[in-house]
């Protein structure tokens, strides 16, 4: 299988930089699966699960919102954070979820880019990744 290069940069660290056979990203309008030689595209990312496969190995991250640009054989994702399952503090995520939901309940209209809405989604993704992938 032809591989391509992936860079995942969080705001304060380089999360992944290397080859991949396949990557699944949480695109704004639905998941984006990328194989080598994908069409050039820039997409917004919503908080979600990111999976990367390379030589029978699979890596998983809980990703926050951000952007990905795919051009030629290079994929660069810039996100606020990307945590692997063992990096997530689930108690903190529960707290965040609670405070975000409280803030949201006081709002009448909420857009997709609302700070509290994103906060809720980020916490949900962290909890989901911990639940589904931590024991593997």
């Amino acid at each position: 299988m032809k591989s391509f290069f992936v860079d995942i940069v969080a705001k304060d660290e380089q999360v992944y930089s290397g080859e991949a056979d396949y990557i699944l990203l949480p695109g704004w309008d639905g998941e984006i699966g990328v194989f080598a030689s994908h069409t050039p595209i820039i997409s917004m990312l919503r908080p979600g699960v990111c999976k990367l496969r390379f030589e029978n190995q699979e890596l998983v991250w809980a990703m926050s919102e951000g952007f990905v640009s795919i051009s030629g054989d290079k994929v660069t994702a810039a996100v606020t954070f990307a945590y692997s399952p063992d990096e997530i503090d689930d108690e903190l995520a529960e707290q965040e979820l609670e405070s975000a939901r409280k803030a949201l309940s006081e709002k009448t209209s909420v857009s997709m880019t609302d700070e509290d809405y994103l906060k809720e989604q980020r916490a949900l993704v962290c909890l989901k990744v911990v639940k589904e992938y931590l024991d593997e």
Binding site: K11, D12, D29, T39, I42, M44, E65, S71, T113
Partner: protein, 289 residues
């Protein structure tokens, strides 16, 4: 003998100063590596955001995010000053405050209203002393994301409420470990930087749309600019402290060696006088016999 004791005391006090400055230098040296690493870790992310921002701006001619709108006349000028909490870092704070002052008086001269935001003990103390009111002041700050988020929310709220029409941030940006420059940047309304190196093919597909991307990328980039400025200022502060404390330690060492010389001379003088007195007395005794 009084003179000798005095010199001895001075040597002891200079030596203790020397110890302090050396310790300060060592603390700053150990912190600077961490500060540098934190700052450098931001670079790839920031670069990527800037390149996407350029692409968004290219594709959208008329998108105006509320934080980018520059329709109001610049009557109220926000000045955000970043200084350190602790001194002993040479002219670091002085240089930043001088620049802030220039901007402040420029504002007053051109009939605008300056709105001050002061970060760091050194800035708040200075303005308290001179009884110049400021809108917001904060001492004891950490250059981390939580704090940057707080700043971001406050500044955005004030901008949208019309507390200021334009906001400049003034901070020291490190050029290397040993040198820095004081920079002044416009923070709001937000003006995107352009990435000239990028090829402007313009054929990139945007998902879902460039218009929506603006809503997400503008706050992300702004927060990033704020945290980078804070980290940069901290890095420059440690660098400046290392330089200042190295000089202070060297000066103290020089002073100690000068004082030691003076001490030996004074001691020798005392001995010589004593010998003279003894031999004079002996000569007198011999004569009288």
């Amino acid at each position: 003998m009084g003179n000798l004791k005095e010199i001895k005391n001075r040597i002891a006090s200079v030596l203790s100063i020397c110890q302090i400055t050396r310790a300060m230098k060592m603390i700053a040296s150990s912190k600077i590596s961490k500060a540098e690493a934190l700052l450098k870790a931001r670079i790839p992310y920031t670069k990527h955001l800037v390149s996407i921002m350029s692409e968004v701006s290219r594709q959208t001619s008329e998108v105006v995010h509320p934080l980018m709108s520059d329709e109001r006349e610049h009557k109220k000028i926000g000045i955000f000053v970043v200084t350190s909490d602790k001194g002993l870092c040479g002219a670091y704070n002085m240089n930043v405050l001088k620049k802030a002052e220039e901007l402040y008086y420029d504002c007053i001269e051109s009939d605008c209203e300056p709105v001050l935001y002061l970060l760091g003990t050194k800035a708040t103390l200075q303005y308290d002393r001179r009884k110049i009111p400021y809108r917001w002041g904060r001492q004891d700050w950490e250059a981390d994301d939580d704090f940057a988020d707080i700043l971001y929310s406050m500044l955005v709220r004030d901008f949208l409420d019309g507390v200021f029409d334009i906001l400049h941030i003034i901070y020291a940006s490190a050029k290397s470990r040993a040198s820095y420059v004081v920079v002044e940047k416009q923070l709001l309304p937000f003006e995107p930087e352009f990435d000239d190196e990028q090829d402007s093919s313009g054929n990139v597909i945007f998902e879902p749309s460039a218009e929506e991307a603006v809503n997400l990328i503008v706050p992300m980039t702004l927060k990033q600019i704020i945290i980078t400025a804070l980290l940069d200022a901290r890095f420059a502060e440690y660098g400046s402290r290392i330089v200042a404390m190295t000089n202070a330690t060297e000066n103290a060492e020089q002073l100690v060696s000068d004082l030691r010389l003076k001490f030996f001379r004074a001691r020798q003088e005392a001995i010589t006088t004593e010998i003279l007195e003894v031999s004079a007395a002996a000569a007198q005794l011999q004569e009288s016999e």
